[in-house]
C-alpha cells in the first residue's frame, strides 16, 4: 500500500475523488507521521480529533460527489492564523492560552473548500525571524540532515538542544519542515520579508508569496501590515497553485485586500513559457557570493532558455537599500501592531502595582528577545525627531524600489529570476546570537519583493555540493501569479522533482 504521506496534494486529491482512498485514511496516516516526528518540533498543536471529524465529513461529501477543490486533504496551518477554538499564539508566550472565537479568512477559505486541519505549525515569534529560532516553543529541525551527520547523531541532537541540526528557515519554519518531512500535504505560511520563500529554498520545497492584497489578512496576527501576505508551502508547483487558489480572494473585512477575482492558477501550471522575457538583475550578484549559488542561478537561466524563454540583463539600482529600509518600515509597523498585547484583555497577564507595571512586566515577560529588539527599533524610528530621518526616508526608498521594478516590467520583462537565498540552510544556534544583522542578511534577495508588493515564487533547483537544498526565486508583475506558476513548473520539470529525505527522526 502506497505510503499515503508521499503523495502530492494533486495526487491525493485525485485518489480521494476517485474514492481509491478515504480522507480518514490519509488523515490518519499523516497524524501517525506527525506523532513519529514529534522530535522535529514542527507542530505546536495537533488537532487529531478535529482532523478525523473533518475527514469524516469530507468522506461523506466525496461519497455524494459534492467535493470541494481541497476536499479531504490534510493541511497544516501556521500558528499565525486565527483558527476558531484552536491554539493561536503566533508562537509567543504573550498569547498564552489564546483560542480565538473567530477564524481567519484564509483558513476559512480552506475549510470552505473541504480541507482537513491537522494542527498548528511552529514559527518564529510574531513572524520575526529567519530560522524559527525565536519561537517560544523552541527551534524546529529541518528534515534534511546536516552534511556528514549520521542519523544517530541527528536523533541525539533532536532530543537535546537541536544544536547543529539544519534550520528549516523562518519565519514559516514549522510549515516548511512539516511539508518537507511529509507530515502534511501542504501548509499555510506567511511572508513579510521572505518568510515563505526562504524556508522553501532551505527545505527543497515550493513556496509563493502572492501580490500584496491577493489574500486577506483578516485573522492573521499582524506583524507589518503593509508587507504581510499569506501564501502556501507545498512540495510541487502544481500543489502550491492548487492551495493558493483556495487561500486567495476578495474580503470586505480587509480594506487592503483586492476585490479582483482569483484565476484558476492550476491551469497555468504547464503553460508554455516560450517567448517570455526573463530579467536577470545585476544588483543581485553580491560580492563574495558563493560560486554554487552563482552556478545554480546560471543553470536556472539555461533551463528557462531551453524552455523557450529569453534572458535579458536588467538593473534594479535601489536593491542594496531594500534591506535597511525594510528593517525600518517593518519594525515601525510592528511596534504599533503589537501594542495591543498588553495583558489587559487576553493572553498573558503579569500583575503589577499599577497599570504601567502591568504593561512593563507582561510585555517584558511575554515577548522574546528578537521581538523586543524590533519593537524598540520600530518605536525609535517613529519617534519625534527621527520620523523624517528614518521612517519617511525608508518609505521613499520603497517608492524607488517599486519604480525600479515598474520600469523593468514596462520594458517587456515578464518575470525576474534571482537566487532565493545567499546560502543554503545553516545550523541551529549557528547564526545571529552575537549579531542580529547576520540573521537579517538571509532576507537580502527576498525583501525587495515585499517592499514592492509583488508576487515571488521560490522553487527548488538543486542541492549544494554537501547535499543541502538550494532554491531559485521568480518575481512577477502585480497579480500575475500565473506567469510565476508557469515558469516555476518549467524549473521543476528541468530540475527534476526534489527527492525529500527519508525519516531519520523516529
Amino acid at each position: 500500500m502506497t505510503d499515503l504521506t508521499s503523495l502530492t496534494l494533486a495526487e491525493a486529491r485525485d485518489r480521494l475523488k476517485s474514492r481509491a482512498i478515504s480522507s480518514v485514511e490519509i488523515a490518519s496516516a499523516h497524524l501517525e507521521a506527525i506523532e513519529r516526528a514529534r522530535g522535529l518540533n514542527a507542530f505546536v498543536a495537533v488537532t487529531a480529533d478535529k482532523a478525523l471529524q473533518m475527514a469524516e465529513a469530507s468522506d461523506a461529501r466525496l461519497a455524494r460527489r459534492e467535493a470541494g477543490p481541497l476536499e479531504g486533504l490534510p493541511i497544516g496551518v501556521k500558528d499565525l492564523y486565527a483558527t476558531e477554538g484552536v491554539h493561536t499564539q503566533a508562537c509567543s508566550h504573550i498569547l498564552d492560552g489564546f483560542k480565538p472565537p473567530y477564524e481567519s479568512t484564509v483558513t476559512a477559505n480552506l475549510w470552505r473548500d473541504g480541507a482537513v486541519m491537522l494542527g498548528k505549525l511552529n514559527m518564529d515569534e510574531f513572524a520575526m525571524g529567519s530560522s524559527n529560532e525565536t519561537s517560544y516553543y523552541g527551534p524546529v529541525a529541518s528534515p534534511w540532515l546536516p552534511p556528514n551527520w549520521s542519523r544517530d547523531r541527528a536523533r541525539a541532537a533532536l532530543s537535546s538542544d537541536k544544536r547543529g541540526l539544519l534550520t528549516p528557515g523562518g519565519s514559516s519554519g514549522g510549515s516548511a519542515s512539516a511539508v518537507a518531512a511529509r507530515l502534511c500535504l501542504a501548509a499555510t505560511a506567511s511572508d513579510t520579508g521572505g518568510s515563505i520563500r526562504q524556508p522553501a529554498a532551505f527545505t527543497g520545497i515550493v513556496g509563493i508569496k502572492p501580490t500584496y492584497g491577493r489574500c486577506s489578512r483578516y485573522g492573521m496576527v499582524a506583524f507589518a501590515s503593509s508587507l504581510d501576505q499569506a501564501g502556501p508551502l507545498a512540495r510541487t508547483v502544481r500543489d502550491a497553485a492548487i492551495m493558493l487558489r483556495s487561500m486567495a480572494g476578495p474580503d470586505l473585512k480587509d480594506s487592503t485586500c483586492s476585490p479582483a477575482s482569483v484565476p484558476d492558477y492550476e491551469a497555468a501550471v504547464g503553460r508554455s513559457v516560450k517567448g517570455m522575457k526573463i530579467g536577470v538583475p545585476k544588483e543581485y550578484r553580491l560580492e563574495g557570493m558563493s560560486s554554487e549559488i552563482e552556478a545554480l542561478w546560471a543553470r536556472g537561466a539555461e533551463w528557462l532558455r531551453a524552455a523557450g524563454a529569453s534572458m535579458v540583463d536588467v538593473s534594479l539600482p535601489t536593491t542594496p537599500y531594500a534591506l535597511p529600509a525594510y528593517y525600518i518600515v517593518a519594525p515601525a509597523e510592528a511596534s504599533s501592531n503589537l501594542a495591543r498585547y498588553d495583558g489587559v484583555r487576553y493572553g498573558l497577564r503579569e500583575p503589577g502595582a499599577d497599570i504601567t507595571e502591568l504593561y512593563e512586566k507582561t510585555r517584558a515577560t511575554g515577548f522574546g528577545t528578537e521581538v523586543r529588539r524590533r519593537l524598540m527599533i520600530g518605536t525609535y524610528v517613529l519617534s519625534a525627531g527621527y520620523y523624517d530621518a528614518y521612517y519617511v526616508r525608508a518609505q521613499k526608498i520603497r517608492t524607488l524600489i517599486k519604480r525600479d521594478f515598474e520600469r523593468v516590467f514596462a520594458d517587456g520583462v515578464d518575470a525576474i529570476l534571482t537566487p532565493a537565498t545567499p546560502s543554503a540552510a545553516f545550523g541551529i544556534s549557528e547564526k545571529g546570537s552575537d549579531n542580529p544583522v547576520e540573521m537579517y542578511l538571509n532576507d537580502i534577495f527576498t525583501v525587495t519583493v515585499n517592499m514592492a508588493g509583488l508576487p515571488g515564487l521560490a522553487a527548488p533547483a538543486g542541492l549544494s555540493s554537501d547535499g543541502r537544498p538550494l532554491g531559485l526565486q521568480l518575481i512577477g508583475r502585480p497579480f500575475d501569479e500565473e506567469t510565476l506558476f508557469a515558469l516555476g513548473e518549467a524549473i521543476e520539470q528541468s530540475a527534476g522533482r526534489m527527492t525529500l529525505p527519508e525519516p531519520w527522526w523516529a
Binding site: Y102, S225, L252, S255, T256, S336, R340, D342, A384
Partner: protein
C-alpha cells in the same frame, strides 16, 4: 467695531489690561448606527462591554473597515461650516498605551483631514454676531471608559464607546472671551443638531471641548497657550476660561512665565490644575495607518450630500425675520432647536392659512416651552400638536376664547386632555368666553352688591379692583373676558 469688541473683553490685571485668546477643539460624537471602523452598535447605555466587536476589542488579526455613513456625516458638517471638503484624506495612527484604548493606538487623521478651513457665524446678542474661523474637521475613534471607583484595588474598563466615531472640530483662535467661547459652542451644537450629524448631548458626553487659552497685552503677538482638556458643559467652559486667564495673568504679573501644558478644570474649586508637563507629554509617533486606504471622495458624492442638507440655522433665522416679521430676538429663540422652528412654521401655516406669527411665537416661547422644559420633553411632546396650537391662536383671533381661557385650555392639553382638539374642548367644557356686555354688567353688579364695604374701599385703595376682577371671573367660571370685566368694574366703581 473691532476695537470696541476688543476693549469690551479686556481683563483688568494688576499692571494693566490683558486680552484673552481662546481656541476650541470640540469633539462631537457622530450620529450613526455603528462605529467608525466596526459594525458594533453605538447605542447609549447598554451593559458594559456589550457593544464591542472583535475589531473594537483589538483581537489579534482584526482590521478596520470604514463606515461610509460616518464619512457622509463629516462631509455634511463640513458643508454646514462652509468649509473646504478635501477630496483626498488619510488616516493616521496616534500611538499611546491606556487600558481604554485596546489597540494601543487611536485611528485619527493627522496630516490630511477630511475637511479644511471654514467659518461659523456666532450670535452674541440678537444684533451682534462674530465670525469664528474653523481650522479643520477630522474623523477619529473615541476611546472606551475607565472606571476607577468600582473597587479599591482594580480599575474597570468598558469598551462600549471604544471605536465610536468622533468629529474633531478645531476652531481658529478667534475668540476673545468666555462668553464668545460659550456662544460658539452653543451655535456649533445647534448647527450639528440641524444637520443631524451629532446630537451634541453634553450630558451624555457626546460633545466635549478642549479649551486653549492664552493671554497677551493688547497689540502683542500670540503667546504660550495652555490646553484645558475634556470640559463637558458650556457653563464649565466659561468658568474654565475665566479661571485659566486669571491664573496666567497673575503668573505673568508676578514675574513668571506661562509654560505650555495640558490642564484639567476642577469645577468644585473653580480652578485649573496641571495634568502633565511638556516633558511628560506623549510622543504619539503618528504614522499613516497601513490597514486603511486613502479616503477619496468624488464630486457626485459631495453634491448629493449638499443637495440633501436641511435649511441651516442662519438661513432659517433670516427667513423667519423676513417672512414672518419676527424680531431678531424671537427668531433666534425659535430657531435654536430645529424641532421648535418646524413646530412654529407648521402652526403658523397650518391649513394653508398664514396666521398671526407673533402670536404663535409667543405661545411657543412662553407657556409651551415652559411646559416642555418642566416635563423634560421635546416641544412636540408637551401635549399639543402644531395643528392644535394653530387652532388655539385661531380661537383667540376669532374672539371665541380669551387669552386667559387659552391658558386654561393649555393646562388641560398638557395634562388630562393630551392630544385633544382645542375647538372640541371648548365646546365640551363650555369654555366660550363671555363677551356679552349685558351678561358682564349683571355679573359685575352682583359682586358689587354682595360686597358694598369693599366697593367703598376701592375708591381709596385702587388695588381692590384686582380682587373684584377675580371675584367676577370666579362667578362667571373664568369665562368672562377679563378686559371687559375690568372696564365694566372701573365704570361701576367709579375708579
Amino acid at each position: 467695531m473691532a476695537t470696541d469688541r476688543a476693549s469690551a473683553k479686556l481683563i483688568k490685571g494688576a499692571t494693566g489690561d490683558w486680552e484673552v485668546i481662546v481656541g476650541l477643539e470640540v469633539h462631537a460624537q457622530v450620529t450613526s448606527r455603528s462605529k467608525l471602523f466596526s459594525g458594533a452598535s453605538t447605542a447609549f447605555g447598554g451593559e458594559p462591554n456589550s457593544h464591542v466587536s472583535l475589531v473594537d476589542a483589538a483581537m489579534p488579526g482584526m482590521l478596520p473597515v470604514i463606515n461610509a455613513e460616518c464619512v457622509a456625516q463629516a462631509v455634511r458638517t463640513g458643508l454646514g461650516l462652509k468649509a473646504k471638503i478635501n477630496r483626498r484624506s488619510t488616516f493616521d495612527r496616534k500611538n499611546y498605551f491606556y487600558p481604554d484604548l485596546p489597540q494601543g493606538y487611536q485611528i485619527s487623521q493627522y496630516k490630511s483631514p477630511i475637511v479644511g478651513e471654514g467659518e461659523i457665524q456666532v450670535e452674541l446678542a440678537p444684533d451682534n454676531s462674530i465670525k469664528v474661523g474653523i481650522e479643520r474637521l477630522h474623523l477619529e475613534q473615541d476611546a472606551g471608559k475607565s472606571l476607577h471607583d468600582q473597587s479599591p484595588t482594580m480599575s474597570f474598563v468598558d469598551l462600549n464607546r471604544s471605536g465610536v466615531a468622533l468629529m474633531e472640530i478645531v476652531s481658529k483662535p478667534d475668540m476673545r472671551s468666555a462668553d464668545e467661547a460659550k456662544a460658539y459652542v452653543g451655535k456649533l451644537r445647534t448647527l450639528l443638531r440641524y444637520i443631524g450629524s451629532s446630537d451634541g448631548d453634553m450630558e451624555k458626553g457626546n460633545l466635549r471641548a478642549d479649551v486653549n487659552v492664552s493671554v497677551r497685552r493688547p497689540g502683542e503677538a500670540l503667546s504660550t497657550r495652555c490646553e484645558i482638556k475634556n470640559v463637558n458643559s458650556i457653563r464649565f467652559i466659561g468658568q474654565a476660561i475665566e479661571a485659566e486667564a486669571r491664573r496666567q495673568i497673575a503668573l505673568i504679573e508676578d514675574g513668571g512665565a506661562v509654560e505650555q501644558e495640558t490642564r484639567l478644570f476642577d469645577p468644585s474649586r473653580g480652578e485649573t490644575r496641571s495634568m502633565r508637563s511638556k516633558e511628560e507629554a506623549h510622543d504619539y509617533r503618528y504614522f499613516p495607518d497601513p490597514d486603511l486606504l486613502p479616503l477619496e471622495l468624488d464630486d457626485a458624492f459631495i453634491d448629493a450630500l449638499a443637495a440633501d442638507l436641511p435649511e441651516l440655522p442662519d438661513a432659517k433665522r433670516a427667513r423667519f425675520m423676513a417672512d414672518y416679521g419676527l424680531s431678531a430676538y424671537d427668531a433666534s429663540i425659535l430657531i435654536a432647536e430645529r424641532e421648535t422652528a418646524d413646530f412654529f412654521e407648521d402652526a403658523v401655516k397650518h391649513g394653508g392659512v398664514k396666521r398671526d406669527a407673533k402670536a404663535v411665537a409667543n405661545w411657543l416661547m412662553g407657556d409651551i416651552s415652559a411646559q416642555a422644559n418642566a416635563q423634560g420633553v421635546a416641544i412636540a411632546d408637551a401635549g399639543l400638536s402644531a395643528a392644535s396650537l394653530a387652532s388655539l391662536v385661531d380661537l383667540i383671533g376669532e374672539g371665541v376664547i380669551s387669552g386667559k381661557i387659552a391658558k386654561d385650555l393649555l393646562a388641560r392639553l398638557f395634562a388630562d386632555d393630551r392630544g385633544a382638539d382645542p375647538r372640541a374642548l371648548v365646546e365640551a367644557h363650555g369654555l366660550r368666553q363671555v363677551t356679552d356686555a349685558g351678561a358682564i354688567d349683571s355679573a359685575v353688579d352682583a359682586v358689587i352688591a354682595a360686597n358694598p364695604d369693599k366697593a367703598e374701599q376701592t375708591k381709596t385703595k385702587p388695588g381692590m379692583l384686582g380682587w373684584f376682577v377675580g371675584q367676577v371671573m370666579k362667578s362667571t367660571g373664568g369665562k368672562a373676558n377679563p378686559q371687559a370685566v375690568s372696564d365694566a368694574l372701573k365704570k361701576r366703581l367709579g375708579v
